[in-house]
Amino acid sequence: MPSSYPEQYFPIVLQIAIAMAIAGAMVAASYLLGKRVRNPVKDSAYESGMVPVGTARERFSVKFYLVAMIFILFDVEVVFLYPWAVVYRDLGLYGFLVMFLFFDLVLWGFYYMWKKGVLDWSEEPPRS
């Protein structure tokens, strides 16, 4: 059993190196193999054969930002769940109560968000 940290993590570094080599080879091979002929039509953005209008650098729905924000909030919370779960058997019922209290506080935020209509993606305007 490899016990030291370098021995434990060497295979991971190795695997990352192999994965990057394969990925790099795939991106490079598409550069090297196959002939390339350019023309203006081939160079334009593909929009089902129509002539593209404007660029894609446009504004998009603010909902995406909201989802990213609430994800960060809850993901941090989930990260707290992991060490708790690992030592849970030693904590017992006390551990359950403490984590339930913590989770409960975040759940009230979740409830508020739900009622505010953050989770509704259909066309109706959000309730105030």
Partner: protein, 397 residues
């Protein structure tokens, strides 16, 4: 043998096996979907289209690799690179079997067993959202941008139920090391059921398993959650502007993620390499019996051929299957082949489920997808976790 040489050898074997199974997973998927739809699927290149993956690779590699002038070049090239390298990395901590001894070397059937294995898997799988977002944004195409944004929102939304469902097995095993989690699932419960996480008292993770599986479908952008690459609304979404092997690399990443997800599910919920029932009841003979039955069936059909060429080809297949059955009876091979068989059988069954669902289900609507993630999956995963925690606190020894 030197530890570093052994590590390099193991890594090369795993990488080779992974690349082969990636290529053939594509073939299996096309075949299964074809048969669901009463078609034959790939049939021309080699017997039963078995050389089709090779032909596809050659075709894609020799295609014109365009980098359109309107793209943001660094991120455009970074995206497929990131997708593939992240998808192939997480296999490093998956355990395929117990400690074995072969040719005088003792080693684990796992590249490495780190004490934060589950966290590592989660970290790598959450990074893969960058690949899709970069691809969508850098392509400078409206459809790609929409696809990329949708994919990002979907993947982070479903990561929450996935991560919370994952905490259930951790609660019972009390470890983040994947090897220790598998070892915590040894034995029998209720007389007949294996002590896998989905059955293990006091808190069977059967609901956690279902939640994890649904979230895994969404994380890998598979049907019914394939909105980021919806052909008919987004002209393939985030990879519209990619061609040649850069296009193929996104598919490779998707299949590699599928393999990783099924392997994680097997390890955490289905007992990893452990057999369905203990060796005392003869689980060591299951693969042999299975292959022998298949050989008998092939031989029967070879003796009663439907087509002329079957008279020769099917007995050859029968011979190969019989050889496989015999191979599983050799004691020295059994030590590492049996765990591998059970692991691959479970992972393969899950993989078949992935393909089956793709052949059966329609696609979600986007608002349904998001509200399903947040209004059902997230609360359900939380309820499951706290119910399990309560059961463990009250009834665990």
């Amino acid at each position: 043998m030197d530890f570093f040489v052994l590590s390099v050898l193991k890594a090369l074997v795993v990488a080779g096996a992974l690349m082969t199974s990636l290529a053939y997973l594509q073939w299996v998927e096309r075949k299964v979907i074809a048969h669901i739809q009463l078609r034959l699927g790939p049939y021309r290149v080699g017997p039963h289209g078995l050389l089709q993956p090779l032909a596809d690779v050659i075709k894609l590699a020799t295609k014109e690799g365009i980098v359109p002038s309107h793209v943001n070049k660094p991120f455009y090239l970074l995206a497929p690179f990131l997708a593939v390298s992240l998808a192939l990395t997480s296999i490093a901590v998956i355990p395929f079997g117990p400690e074995i001894e072969a040719f005088g070397v003792r080693t684990y059937m796992q590249l490495t067993d780190i004490n934060i294995g589950v966290l590592f898997l989660l970290a790598i799988s959450s990074l893969s959202v960058y690949a899709v977002t970069f691809a969508g944004w850098a392509s400078n195409n409206k459809y790609s941008l929409l696809g990329g944004l949708r994919a990002a929102a979907q993947m982070i939304s479903y990561e929450l139920p996935l991560a919370i469902a994952l905490a259930g097995p951790l609660l019972i095993a009390g470890s983040l090391s994947l090897r220790e989690i598998v070892e915590a699932q040894q034995g029998v419960t209720l007389g007949i059921l294996p002590r896998w996480m989905i059955f293990q008292p006091p808190a069977p993770q059967i609901f956690g398993f279902v939640i994890f599986l649904i979230a895994a479908f969404a994380e890998t952008n598979r049907v019914p959650f394939d909105l980021p690459e919806a052909e008919n609304e987004l002209v393939a979404g985030f990879h519209t502007e990619y061609s040649s092997l850069k296009f193929a690399s996104f598919f490779m990443a998707e299949y590699a993620n599928m393999i990783t997800m099924t392997a994680i599910t097997t390890t955490l919920f289905l007992g990893g390499w452990l057999p369905l029932f203990p060796a005392e009841y003869g689980s060591n003979f299951v693969p042999s019996i299975l292959f022998a039955l298949l050989a008998a069936a092939a031989l029967y059909h070879g003796l009663h051929p439907a087509r002329r060429k079957d008279r020769f080809s099917l007995p050859v297949v029968a011979l190969l299957l019989a050889a496989a059955a015999a191979l599983f009876l050799i004691p020295i091979v059994q030590t590492f082949l049996l765990p591998l068989f059970w692991f691959l059988a479970k992972a393969g069954a899950l993989m078949f489920l992935f393909i089956w669902v793709r052949g059966t289900m329609p696609r979600f609507r986007y608002d349904q997808l998001m509200s399903f993630a947040w209004k059902f999956m997230f609360p359900a995963a939380a309820v499951n976790l706290f119910a399990s925690a309560l059961l463990v606190a009250l009834f665990a020894r």
